[in-house]
């Protein structure tokens, strides 16, 4: 496979696409949100259980490409157990990573952990929305916005 393409579709991403973590409907969520990408028709439903400022459980369901599904899957793994403030910070760092703005904020990449596998996305501007749909949806659920989210 082409090197640039391999950077985008890293093994971790293909693995999370094939077996997404926390892919289920949550019955006892405290907040949720539906996200939609009108360009490709992708949809995602993110469920959160927030208890005393801590995200104790997170899950998702929906349809999307490998980038969007793996991003949602890794997101759930990364923010589970974090405070809502920490979850928001991870979201901001993730956005910086895939839009290529991380270089302007040195030191932040240490905090990205497994999410660093998405660094290849910055070379594919048309796929940025695929990678961020789940995150915007999660962020909206976090703030208990009733409105559904679209990438447009």
């Amino acid at each position: 496979m082409d090197q640039e393409l391999r950077e985008l579709y890293q093994e971790v991403i293909l693995d999370h696409n094939k077996s997404p973590r926390n892919y289920r409907k949550m019955e006892d969520f405290t907040q949720d949100c539906e996200g939609y990408n009108p360009l490709c028709g992708d949809t995602i439903h993110v469920y959160l259980k927030v208890n005393e400022g801590i995200v104790t459980d997170v899950s998702f369901q929906g349809s999307g490409c490998a980038i969007s599904k793996a991003s949602a899957s890794l997101m759930t793994s990364e923010i589970k157990g974090k405070t809502t403030e920490e979850a928001e910070e991870i979201f901001r760092n993730f956005q910086d990573l895939i839009t290529g703005n991380l270089g302007k904020n040195p030191g932040k990449d240490d905090k990205l952990g497994k999410l660093a596998v998405f660094s290849g996305v910055q070379e594919f501007p048309v796929r940025v929305k695929c990678a961020t749909l789940a995150w915007h949806t999660m962020n909206s659920a976090l703030h208990e916005n009733d409105r559904s989210v679209t990438t447009e």
Binding site: M1, E4, L5, C40, G41, G64, C65, I67, K69, R127
Partner: protein, 419 residues
């Protein structure tokens, strides 16, 4: 006799030199990710032959001026070239007169023109407009807008699992309230060629006019507006090897005459005072403002090119490609073709188990293959099949079987990667 056999009968020759055609399209020599470009996104837009590209340059270098109003030499030359393009288009679709050919921005504007102008005068509260489930959004939303405004009802002919209109249901939808039928000639996401003659005959028996969205038809099959007897026909230049930003609305002269202007402005009037304005004659009544002159002339040139190759020969070549591609992809495990009508133009939509169309699109791009992925502006079609999107390869006169092999090999590689 099926469509291909019908077209074979009228085609006078079977010689088709695809390499010679390819030489006329400079962009086909492009490399993408170090691979030769395999352009299979023709339903989105087609590439342009060198004669069309040169015509734009020639217009701006030697003719540029405004039409229909200057007394100077250049204005005369530009007007002549613009009106000659109209005559070429009239001949291409066999319209009765050149005043039935209106230049627009594209199919979308052509449909909006009819919805707004014809609809506003002829739709009353409680009236009904019929479209089909396989319409492009551009043949849905303009009708929703005018139906909302006029308090009219939009009714939809359902499709079956092959992606064909269910004709019996169309018959049932017609009532004495039905005032208009607007359907697609050939579907951009399924490839289906609709039985337009049957649809028009039935509508006419009930005195209902019919508009055909022919954006994906005029570039693939011979279209004769007098033979099919449609009342309106809309298509775009850029899907017919011409420039973007230019399209056509064909309308029967008596209908166009009865319709109020769509937009007001220069060129569409014959006399303006603050008390009263009288409108220009057809087709100028519907061409307010300075039009896309270079685009119109370029479209004329594109039609000249298509006619030189022969639309019948293009049809047969593309249908052969479609048969070849259909057979090849049917052998790929986990692949399902969306749109399996008996009559299709060169559009191949498919889904692959466990691989999203967007991932297919990105992988194929690295093989040099350009396809379209998404809902193709036909979300009700996606809803019918309960899928968010498809991958779509669509063929044009310059595509080859070798290019389809590249597509198929690319798909096999993707399956290996995604396992």
């Amino acid at each position: 006799m099926n469509l291909k056999e019908e077209i074979s009968v009228i085609s006078n020759s079977t010689v088709y030199d695809v390499e010679e055609i390819r030489n006329d399209f400079p962009i086909l020599r492009t490399y993408v990710h170090d691979k030769p470009l395999v352009y299979l996104d023709n339903a989105a837009t087609t590439q342009k032959p060198i004669s069309v590209i040169q015509e734009a340059q020639k217009y701006y270098s030697t003719m540029n001026s405004n039409i229909h109003r200057g007394v100077h030499a250049l204005s005369g030359v530009a007007t002549e070239a613009y009106e000659t393009a109209r005559i070429k288009i009239k001949k291409f679709i066999n319209a009765l007169g050149k005043n039935e050919i209106i230049f627009t921005k594209g199919t979308t504007e052509s449909i909006n023109l009819v919805a707004q102008s014809y609809g506003r005068v002829n739709l009353q509260s409680g009236d009904e407009v019929i479209i089909s489930q396989m319409e492009h959004h551009s043949n849905i939303v303009p009708w929703q807008l005018i139906c909302n405004e006029r308090n009219a009802k939009l009714k939809v002919i359902p499709i079956n699992d092959e992606g064909e209109i269910i004709f019996e249901d169309f018959e049932k939808l017609i009532t004495d309230k039905t005032k208009f039928v607007s359907v697609v000639y050939a579907s951009n996401s399924l490839g289906t060629v609709n039985p337009v003659k049957k649809i028009i005959d039935l509508a006419h028996q009930n005195n209902i006019p019919v508009l055909l969205d022919a954006a994906q038809a005029v570039n693939h099959i011979p279209v004769d507006v007098q033979e099919i007897d449609c009342d309106f026909l809309a298509f775009s230049g850029h899907k017919l090897y011409g420039p973007t930003g230019i399209g056509i609305l064909y309308g029967k002269v008596n209908l166009l005459d009865s319709m109020p202007p769509y937009q007001g402005g220069g060129d569409m009037i014959s006399k303006v005072t603050f008390e009263k304005t009288t409108y220009n004659e057809l087709p100028h009544k519907f061409e307010a403002g300075t039009p896309n002159i270079a685009g119109a002339i370029g479209l004329g040139k594109a039609i000249e090119y298509v006619s030189k190759v022969g639309i019948e020969k293009i049809s047969i070549h593309e249908m052969n490609l479609l048969e070849y591609a259909t057979e090849a992809v049917n052998l790929i495990p986990g692949l399902k073709i969306i749109g399996t009508s008996r009559e299709k133009v060169g559009v191949l939509s498919f889904v692959l188990d466990n691989v999203h169309p967007h991932d297919i699109g990105t992988f194929l791009d690295f093989e040099g293959v350009a396809i379209r992925t998404g809902h193709h502006c036909t979300q009700p079609v996606m809803d019918h099949y309960n899928i968010p999107a498809t991958s779509r390869a669509s063929f044009a006169m310059y595509n080859t079987k070798e290019e389809i092999d590249v597509l198929v090999n690319g798909l096999k590689k993707i399956i290996e990667e995604f396992g």
